[in-house]
Subunit: 121 residues, 2 copies
């Protein structure tokens, strides 16, 4: 059996792209993805699943139609399924996303920010 | 909708007990639990699910029958379902566990370390 720790900062150092989640681990059908965010993402929702954001470095705002949450390193938030949201990071922010395998980053919105899925780092 | 960030260190400050996981968030049927570990836990396995350990503070060894993994803050590991393991922390270690709702901390082993389940903090 593999006995290697997964070091989140080491994994983050392996890719520079923004808005391009990379899978680092799976638990059953749930994936743990690292992503670097900067700027304003697209408004979107995930119709079939909640989505977890855990901030590792930097600051992240998640805007909703009725408000927003602001997260710093060491904080997390669960976006309920079906809820429209827009991540915004003024400076580069590193996050871990937790969601079922197969979730597309832009949800129902599509468009230029849609990233390839299931890419491991 | 609730727009409050979940601050992991603030939540950890709310309970002192070792080996007593507290739920801080749910994504679909998956729970995110904080726990403080110190000493040697019991050998056990979870027959039906993988189990994720993410170290927030301190150092954790997870022993297996064929080796071990050592984790520091910012590192994670997925214990595959059915694999016997024993967490050991020489000094107090704070972790986030990610696993389906209903998983008991001692798995198939039972005994004095078995904690009440589904306790939120």
């Amino acid at each position: 059996m593999n006995h290697d720790a997964i070091n989140l900062r080491d994994k983050l150092a392996l890719f520079p792209e923004h808005w391009s989640p990379r899978v680092v681990a799976e638990m059953n059908d749930v994936q743990f993805k690292l992503a670097k965010l900067q700027g304003e993402f697209v408004w979107h929702a995930h119709a079939d699943t909640d989505e977890v954001f855990i901030v590792i470095d930097g600051e992240l705002a998640i805007e909703f139609r009725d408000g927003e949450v602001r997260l710093v390193a060491g904080e997390m938030f669960v976006v309920p399924k079906g809820v429209e949201h827009r991540p915004v990071a003024t400076e580069e922010c590193c996050v871990m996303l937790v969601e079922p395998r197969g979730v597309v980053n832009t949800g129902d919105a599509g468009g230029a920010y849609t990233a390839a899925n299931d890419i491991w780092v």
